[in-house]
Symmetry: D2
Subunit: 282 residues, 4 copies
């Protein structure tokens, strides 16, 4: 029998960083968590324990801090590209590098109605994300949003589906629709105005979700993806992953009460999960 080493990668995950920019009396802060994954000529490390081509993951971590000093990590897509360029330049054994960034979002604490210069609060549970991957020949830039929890109390139904012998779900023209959205989109190129596009996409996803007459979660997911591709020509593909966070109508009939679409039971499990990728046709 012979054994072949297939797809493999290694790197450092959960490298955390806060950068405070004190260029003016109004500070800027940026908090990110980075994962680095390298692919390349690492076969002898696996088969005979030869570490001569292994850059320690501890060194990768140090490199993040050194580069964060040299290049402001703003936006995360460009900081990721700097890191990848560093790893590819100084490590001929590396064929491909991938950097995943997750950014915690902070807003300024309002004091007397004005945003404070140096005091911040976490803006939301949601995160801004990016994934940059590159070989020496080509690079791909992706960005995204995770953990964006949204809910519609109107304009949402689910009817006309298959009824088989195991179906007990009742059709409803008026149900709660809620999800914790994850979106990832791929840019057509580098050199995009990453931060302004990110804010634009986020706004459009939220507005489309709010205004859509939803016939199903698939239907709304598609409408959201379609809106993004239709309005941002910098984006060639978008993937949406949406758990259906069920809010079930509580049955109050045993207690002689009617539940007029008013009292709901939120449940975390089980949950539906809808995932799709939309692509711009070339």
């Amino acid at each position: 029998m012979r054994i072949r080493l297939g797809q493999n990668n290694y790197g450092k995950s959960r490298v955390r960083l806060l950068r405070v920019s004190r260029a003016s009396s109004s500070h800027e802060i940026k908090e990110i968590t980075i994962a680095i994954r390298l692919e390349g000529d690492f076969e002898s490390a696996h088969t005979i324990g030869d570490n001569s081509k292994i850059l320690p993951t501890d060194t990768m971590k140090n490199t993040v801090y050194v580069l964060a000093k040299q290049y402001p990590p703003e936006p995360i897509e460009e900081f990721s590209a700097h890191l990848i360029e560093h790893f590819l330049t100084y490590n001929p054994q590396v064929a491909r590098a991938e950097i995943e960034c997750t950014e915690n979002l902070w807003s300024r604490i309002p004091v007397g109605g004005k945003p404070h210069d140096t005091a911040f609060m976490r803006a939301a549970g949601e995160k801004r994300t990016s994934l940059v991957a590159a070989t020496r020949a080509a690079a791909e830039f992706s960005a995204g949003i995770s953990d964006l929890v949204i809910l519609k109390s109107a304009q949402s139904g689910f009817e006309g589906y298959i009824h088989d012998p195991y179906t007990t779900l009742k059709e409803r023209s008026d149900r709660i629709l809620a999800t914790s959205m994850r979106a990832e989109w791929v840019y057509v190129s580098e050199g995009i105005a990453f931060s302004s596009v990110w804010h634009g996409v986020r706004k459009l996803l939220l507005e489309t979700f709010a205004e859509h007459d939803s016939l199903s979660l698939q239907h709304t997911l598609y409408a959201m993806g379609e809106a993004v591709l239709g309005n941002f020509e910098q984006i060639q593909e978008i993937r949406l992953s949406m758990p259906n966070k069920h809010y079930n109508l509580v049955d109050l009939q045993p207690f002689g009460l009617e539940n007029d679409n008013e009292i709901f039971l939120p449940i975390d499990e089980p949950h539906g999960l809808i995932e799709a990728t939309l692509r711009r046709e070339i």
Copy 2:
């Protein structure tokens, strides 16, 4: 040997509820999680398995939904009082009831600059909380905030502390101060305008944190509690619990770089933890 049953209680935890109010075309939503704890004459249930005085926790859960239909759960303090009144009225074996509420905060999705009528997003990771406890003779109303993540990039130092043989920490007049605040306060009575006071306390805690010249986390915690007691005579006591979420300056000297208070390493563990109660002197 004789054994005595000491302090004991039982109840239902993590009872979840969403209420949608459709009184106008602009819906209101309220999402809460409730824990119920009853104390009383439950000795024979423990010692001989006599369930004749046991109200099942499943019934407690049903009661939450029935009462949420009858009394809008707004504010959570008053809804808790309704629940307690129910349990004390119909269950002579219950001597004391305690209801803990945790509210997820939702805001409206802005569409074209205006808040949408029926689409919502989770406002923040923070929660509004309450704890109402009552016997047939007396009741106590408490409220609070949990998981409020805040950070100061200026006006914070830590100096002049004890140096013993195991001290390696460097004194700093300019450090990052960050915490995930938990506050709980006790009202002097019932019949308070619970929601407007809650928003007022939250605003004051945030503003005090932002503007304080902090000599330590203890110092800032005390200033925050003092501000609340000084401005809200409806509150007789406040307890603050603040983990010190350390952001350590990264040492870049090994790489020939100076870190001018710019690049920090956030760490979750270990963390300091500062807790104190402040009371209005009578």
Copy 3:
């Protein structure tokens, strides 16, 4: 208005430690997480930011590692006592110190049927815990178990309880009983054989749970506590906290099938919660 600083404490939480003992070719490992809480004369730190009586929490952390080198952290109760003695001896401003320990349990990996000398696996999700608290006058030693997940598929019913208008639960003489147990017990003195007693208590709690004819979770909880107090005179009090992790019988009637106590739906929320303290009568 005057404000008084009430109960307050500060310290370091989540201080983690692994100790490897290489006294023989068969290594011993011990992995613990420690929380330190100090109470004392800290009023001026709060009110005016005077840190002259503040031992930094960073120094507390260093102290843990220094003492772990000097005194093997085995058992955790005695290591905690060493730490407390250190803090009380060198810090006159400290009136009371409390050390909470949580131990991850490791077992040896079996190789060819024999436990390996230097390779280990996590034994279970459960933890061994301790809480030692002392002033200069007196000390109290407690120990415990957390996260012990246990289940009975027989000898468990729940009948004869109160039926009120909101009760829908069906009485059952044969139900699944499951919990994630937390037990904490208080020793009558120091100088106990802490580790052998801990293993004895754990065994007795498990055996009592297994063999009990349970009429309710309260009933079984009490039997477990009673067994411990009846068999370990070193223990004066035990507190048990048991969430009722419901396993509901799935209704298969809509599909023309009978569910003969065979197929269950485990649910995490809502859950019952039963808590009681048992004390030895003096």
Copy 4:
């Protein structure tokens, strides 16, 4: 612009199930969590909200319970195949179905040295997993282990790696090696003795980890995969994912003490992550 719907799937996640088999007085229990993902002709559901080809995820959940009654979910690989066969048989619009199972492992509580018939405890934090995917033409069976936490206190070093200007890590011939292993392997066919092979693979992975003279985590990962492929001809491919859970030697020199490879600081983040697939060469 035209938009194309690319890869998409939907289904139900976190469907939980406990089955109690009472065939003898010694009960058997099986607790699993299932995720179902269907692919097929769902384009019109996305684009125009036509649900006529949508089997509700609620029905999928019901189907799990019905089939668990009809076919004992033992082993999980075969139960998954039954579910897939059901979905493909009755749903012509489904082209491919994927079932992921995660099994909580329970052991019997020992009473008086003997395993109890009807009382159980969670055996470990680790899980048994499976992934079965099939079209009408072909099926693939995979199995795995997740969350297996293991540690070596000897026979582990890391030396001879690249030193670049950002490297500060010290070479060590004697370090702690620890990970929370995730392994997934692909079977060459169906009709395998899934449970006995699973136990055999688990034992071999543990023994290889224990006995390996590790020159790096890559080196040990490869040895573990190689052992599995070398001993189980039913397996054609294995993927291992191993976070390097660092245990750093604590520097006690500032306190005048030498740390003789004895006191370590466990850290969760950042962590190395090593991933590789090994395949049998045909």
